[in-house]
Symmetry: C2
Subunit: 342 residues, 2 copies
DNA sequence: ACCTTGCATGGTAGCGCTACCATTTTCTGC
DNA sequence: GCAGAAAATGGTAGCGCTACCATGCAAGGT
């Protein structure tokens, strides 16, 4: 004789309560909320009143179970603290904040294995869409993405063979542009300094190398890398290493802006004149590059925009309007500043 | 006559499939997965084999629906890109990566209203725990937290009146320690420079003011703030403003390290000697403070540790072992560096 | 007048899982 | 050896929602 609801549910209003209050069937309430066009003006208003009065919020779990589709975007990035991905994630959150979609984020720690594990976990929840960083998934991961049964957007790169959709830019071209700029500015012994050489960093290095070889300037001893996570402090150390190996170094293309800032500080500390004795180019163009003294040339990337665009494409695909172009190249921009103004 | 499952589910194995394969009841499979201790060694092994062979992954939505409790941690922070919160969030993710708990994150954009909205949304999903930044929730939000029916951990502050549990440190004390350090180092016209004056920044300012007043050095013209979001570039501008207002300024306590870095760059650009003419102290002690030239004194905070501790306390509470102390003060550490070594 | 078409609405039957209550088996204690 | 307790296992009935298939009724075609 006890009311069934009191047993478990905790007394929150359900769709049945709303239906009773509005004097309609539960299914009509469900429709009024999801496809208002299919319910008559009158009932729609009645239902809205009942929803407001009861403070009804649909249970996303019940929804997901009944419809075999969760209103969740799965987002997979290699790092949460790296400003680059944080910006992408911010773009994703901002774009989804007014939608019914929730976000489930995963941190792969730059590990392919971890990516596989998380992808499997995410896919098992039938997400509405998946957004993953990079195009270098393991074959296993790629298969998971292909069979996920939802729109998939790879981000942060460009290429010709996406799983589904792809938004980003060419790291190779970015690296090449940076190196070419240094060459044009008159630098000759131009080093590459990079930490945590993930696939994107490798491509930037390849772009740098292409430019250097084209100019007949490449020398393997100009390249200084480490698998360690990048940091400003590490930038200082790597410049010291690079100079030890190659004292005649007169320019550096840094894998990212943290490294570039470290290189700048090390130059100041060692009384090496920038841009006179050494030119510096960073990557990503964080705010601090512009504020630095001297200000630092960097390759500006559109991270926030990548996040927004990825969501826009996914939403379009969910709505059945797959974008005409599956690959969007948002490009980059070389911002010339004092650090290379010789 | 069609198999029911083929209609909707998409063919993924369910608990019933596992049960059939292992020759046991569905409920036993459920128990074997959640409370292995209550199932005999034999069956447990049989079930494990069936799970592995079928590649069975429990459906979290069905679980949440049936148990009226989602395995989700709700996490609410004011910003995703601010390194400070990113570190806390990283601590939370790392601590939960091996647990069955998922994370649902919300970005309040420093808005109380947005916080209320997200809290309502989160609470409606019956999360296993809630972690929220700060202690300055609106009365509405506080009530939501109190009635959420799950462990709640407020983070990034300390105090005597948490909703439930609290992990962080005293911003007031941090601000006071910074100011006292500058006073001891011999600086007298010590300014406060701060952007986006959220409650935590306000408390740091209050700590600074207390120290300055105790030394008879406080002057309201020493305080320069703006509601804008903080950035390195903004640090430069704020120092210019501060100097225009008070040319005799000989020290600054910066609300955070981004501002401090901007102040440092502006000093270099304006040929103001650091630490000789002006002493600089930052807040948070990001990696770059140590690498800077001159290196910058800063108040080190334990952000990652706060995230880990918050999760540890929440997990203990979920397991029914509420921690003896509901408020954990992880403190801070003043790191003395060149920027105040007069 | 009849039948067809389309729209608005509702009833029923699950989605995959777990809470609750049996039921069976095994283990005590005397 | 047996009553009683404890442990192991299973059956049933939902959790709150939506897919699917009616049903009823007005509009249009012949």
């Amino acid at each position: 004789m006890t009311k069934p609801r009191s047993r478990r549910g905790g007394g929150r209003p359900t769709i049945a309560d709303v239906a009773r209050k509005a004097g309609v069937g539960a299914i009509t309430v469900s429709r009024a909320l999801r496809e208002p066009g299919r319910v008559s003006e009158d009932l729609r208003r009645q239902i809205q009143v009942a929803v407001d009065e009861l403070g009804y919020i649909p249970d996303p779990n019940a929804r997901a179970l009944a419809s075999a589709r969760a209103e969740v975007f799965g987002v997979l990035v290699p790092s949460l603290t790296n400003n680059v991905f944080a910006e992408v994630v911010r773009g994703i959150y901002d774009s989804l904040s007014d939608s019914p979609f929730r976000i489930q984020m995963g941190n792969t720690h730059y590990s392919g294995l971890e990516e596989e594990r998380l992808l499997q976990l995410f896919a098992s929840q039938r997400p509405a869409a998946l957004i993953v960083a990079g195009i270098d998934q393991t074959p296993q991961s790629r298969k998971l993405l292909e069979t996920a049964g939802c729109p998939v957007v790879q981000v942060m790169e460009t290429g010709h063979d996406p799983v589904d959709m792809l938004v980003g830019f060419s790291h190779f071209d970015g690296g090449r542009a940076a190196a070419e700029h240094l060459i044009e500015a008159g630098y000759r012994r131009i080093g590459f300094i990079g930490a945590r050489m993930d696939p994107r960093s490798q491509r930037r290095l390849a772009g740098y190398r292409a430019a250097m070889e084209a100019a007949g300037l490449f020398d393997p001893r100009l390249v200084t890398t480490t698998p360690l996570l990048s940091s400003v402090t590490l930038g200082r150390e790597l410049l010291r290493d690079a100079l030890a190996k190659m004292p005649s170094l007169d320019g550096v293309f840094c894998n990212n802006d943290d490294i570039a800032l470290g290189v700048l500080f090390e130059c100041r500390r060692a009384a090496i004149a920038v841009p006179k004795a050494i030119g510096i180019v960073g990557f990503n163009d964080l705010d601090m590059m512009q504020a630095a003294f001297p200000s630092v040339t960097s390759v500006r990337t559109h991270r926030y925009e990548i996040g927004r665009q990825a969501v826009a494409m996914a939403l379009a695909a969910i709505a059945g309007r797959r974008p005409q172009q599956r690959v969007v190249d948002l490009g980059f921009e070389l911002i010339r500043r004092e650090s290379t103004a010789r």
